[in-house]
């Protein structure tokens, strides 16, 4: 029973309330008792003072008469008057021999023993005046107070237990639904989701969050499955070629043939390792652990460095690579990954846009976004395939024969995702326009990272 959290909570609150009732009852009882006693004492004191006054004005006989009169009145206090020698003069309490002050006197009456609280005062001339009253009346009052609190205590406990049971039943039922869904998922039903009640309370919000987590996990598992089968499928071709080359080296007739076959095999191995390195890097980026290394990066500085590094090679190949970036545009990011992303985009454009292609790298502000665009004037990508070119190993039909692992743009997509940036492809008519849009940026120029800032050519490279 006490393994239910809500029940345990309800029990705790019930106990806390019950304890408060007990404490409150005790305080009430004590103050009531003190007040009653004070009132009782005051009443007896006032009566004693009144009779002492009577003694001074009317003398002994007046007091004796007053005592006898009052003793006869039903429901009044009890009195007694003793002579200085202790002889009883008048009243029920006469002759009981107590000294002056407060005392308790036990009398037996027709109704049984009676306990009286008595105030004894000494009148002038040595007469002892006793005034007493039954203090059972106080006890009765106290008992009433006590009983009231007892009922309250019982009520609190009963209500607490009932409330706790009700609460725990409700929570228990919903948690059961959650763990039922979890069990189903554990047992392989990945489509199961936790039912929502639509009340938008904490449990509903928790269930919604868990459902979103499950969606994400399912997506990741799906992509993992996809990657594994892609890897298996895509590595088969180069591995087959490697095997053929090794076989050729074994059957080679001339040393030159053997050397060629072995060199070819080494190249195949390097290409395979390259593919693995690419996959590993994408996996690391997707794991998202690099966000800790984020710092301000000026996209203009970064683009200038990359263009500066690749423009000479492009020129040698009869292509042109130009930079269009006028102002500092800093985002929070990982400079190393952003450089690799831009390098991949530039290499991709140079490789696929063909001879005499013109490629430009633009860094510009579009509304609230900082955009890095790589635009070429090559054959472009058919609209139907634009989404898929960011998948691992996806290659257009016409580029199957060019070297490349098919991982470059997948890495671009992964780096963009890590930075919360969106990648869009557009038709540059002719050519392809790849845009990476970062959601937030600052105009404040940054130091960039040293190696890049250092190497930035003074003028745009064309």
């Amino acid at each position: 029973m006490f393994r239910s959290t809500s029940l345990r909570l309800a029990a705790f609150y019930t106990a806390a309330f019950a304890l408060s009732v007990v404490v409150l009852g005790a305080i009430t009882l004590l103050t009531t008792r003190a007040a009653l006693k004070a009132e009782f004492d005051a009443r007896l004191g006032a009566e004693a003072a009144a009779l002492a006054q009577e003694f001074r004005t009317e003398g002994l006989s007046g007091v004796v008469q007053a005592v006898r009169e009052r003793d006869r009145t039903p429901g009044a206090l009890d009195y007694g008057l003793d002579a200085p020698d202790g002889a009883a003069l008048a009243g029920r309490l006469a002759g009981s021999r107590q000294g002056p002050g407060w005392s308790t006197l036990r009398l037996s009456t027709a109704h049984g023993p009676e306990s009286l609280r008595v105030l004894t005062t000494t009148l002038p001339g040595g007469y002892a005046l006793r005034i007493g009253d039954d203090d059972a009346r106080n006890d009765a009052l106290e008992a009433t107070v006590l009983a009231g609190f007892g009922w309250a205590f019982a009520g609190v406990v009963v209500l607490g237990i009932l409330g706790g049971l009700g609460l725990s039943y409700g929570v228990h039922r919903r948690l059961n639904a959650m763990s039922g869904a979890a069990e189903a998922i554990i047992n392989g039903d990945f489509t199961r989701r936790i039912p929502l009640r639509g009340s938008d309370d904490e449990l509903d919000r928790l269930a919604a969050t868990l459902n979103r987590m499950l969606d994400r996990i399912t997506l990741l598992m799906e992509s993992l499955r996809q990657v594994s089968s892609d890897v298996a499928h895509d590595l088969r071709t180069p591995l087959t070629r490697l095997r053929q080359r090794l076989e050729a080296s074994r059957t080679a007739v001339t040393p030159a043939e053997r050397t060629a076959a072995i060199t070819g095999a080494l190249e195949d191995v390097d290409a395979l390792l390259d593919t693995f390195a690419g996959l590993l890097r994408i996996a690391q980026i997707e794991a998202g652990a690099r966000r800790a290394a984020f710092r301000p990066v000026d996209l203009s500085v970064l683009a200038r460095a990359v263009v500066g590094d690749f423009a000479p090679s492009a020129e040698d190949a009869g292509q042109r690579l130009a930079l269009v970036a006028s102002e500092p545009l800093a985002i929070d990011g990982d400079p190393e990954l952003l450089t690799q992303m831009l390098v991949n985009l530039v290499e991709n454009a140079l490789r696929h846009a063909g001879e005499r292609a013109r490629v430009s790298v633009r860094v510009e502000q579009h509304g609230q976004a900082a955009v890095v665009a790589v635009v070429d004037d090559g054959p472009g990508v058919p609209a139907a395939e634009r989404e898929r070119i960011f998948d691992r190993f996806y290659r257009l039909e016409r580029s199957r024969s060019t070297p490349g692992s098919g991982l470059g743009l997948a890495l671009v997509a992964a780096v963009a995702r890590l930075h919360g940036a969106s990648v869009t492809l557009a038709d540059a008519a002719p050519g392809l326009d790849v845009r990476v849009a970062f959601a937030s940026f600052t105009r404040r120029p940054t130091l960039g990272f040293p190696n890049v800032a250092d190497s930035a050519p003074s003028a745009p490279v064309a």
Binding site: L273, D274, A277, L280, R281, Q284, A289, R290, A293, G308, D309, F310, P312, S313, D316, E336, L337, T339, Q340, V343, E347, L350, R351, P403, G404, G408, F449, N451, V452, D454, S455, A456, P457
Partner: protein
């Protein structure tokens, strides 16, 4: 040179030892981290080649321990972990260079040579001179035989790196990592392109070439042919 190779894979270790022996180095090879630590502390080596993941004692822990005990021998870390943060971790622990497995043996040789006799950073002179080629790091000027040579910033960095490693082979990967700060392999031949432009500026029309291509390994800037 006297080298210590700590590598737990027997076959890989034996291969390294043989290759380094052939290159004229004396090599101690141990397969166990604790043994490696003892040797590193007791003997005097020119370079320690250390596998990052070892049985009994982690390679990073060894580097930290020998650095803490004041041993300044250059350490080349070998690792199967190619992660971005793994590299930083390795260097922060006190490693001097980091090479991801698998690697070409020529790459390892070049890095071992670059690490040995590496001048301590504080001794880096403001001017470097090889034959009649002079590079002033403060004024950022380069002259050859008194003639001023104008270089792009990247070409300047490239030449500075070659001159600092004068007489030793530097590989394409070493250049990418140190000059470009690229810790990935671009498909474009940017190193070759920049190198050929640099050579055109430094060597063209000169009686003696200083920048040489080392087949299958990389480049070397040296006085003699």
């Amino acid at each position: 040179m006297k080298l210590l190779v700590v590598e737990d894979d027997r076959e890989a270790g034996a291969y390294l030892k043989r290759a380094l022996n052939q290159a004229g180095h004396t090599v101690d090879h141990v397969a166990d981290g604790r043994e490696g630590l003892l040797l590193a502390a007791a003997e005097s080596y020119d370079v320690i080649v250390l596998d990052r993941m070892l049985p009994k004692m982690d390679g990073l822990a060894i580097v930290r321990t020998i650095r803490a005990s004041g041993v300044k021998t250059p350490v080349l870390l070998l690792t199967a972990l190619g992660g971005i943060d793994d590299r930083v971790e390795g260097l922060e622990a006190g490693g001097d260079d980091y090479l991801v497995k698998p690697f070409a043996i020529a790459e390892l040789m070049a890095r071992v040579n670059a690490l040995a006799r590496r001048p301590p950073p504080q001794d880096a002179p403001t001017a470097l001179q090889v034959a009649d080629l002079r590079l002033d790091r403060l004024a950022r000027t380069v002259t050859r035989g008194g003639d001023r040579i104008e270089l792009q910033p990247r070409e300047f960095q490239l030449l500075e790196y070659l001159m600092r490693h004068a007489g030793r082979v530097v590989t394409r990967t070493m250049l990418l990592e140190s000059v470009w700060d690229y810790h990935f392999d671009p498909k474009t031949n940017i190193v070759e392109t920049h190198m050929s432009r640099l050579r055109a500026k430094v060597d063209r029309g000169r009686a003696r070439e200083l920048i040489h291509t080392v087949r299958g390994a990389g480049y070397c800037l040296r006085e003699d042919a």
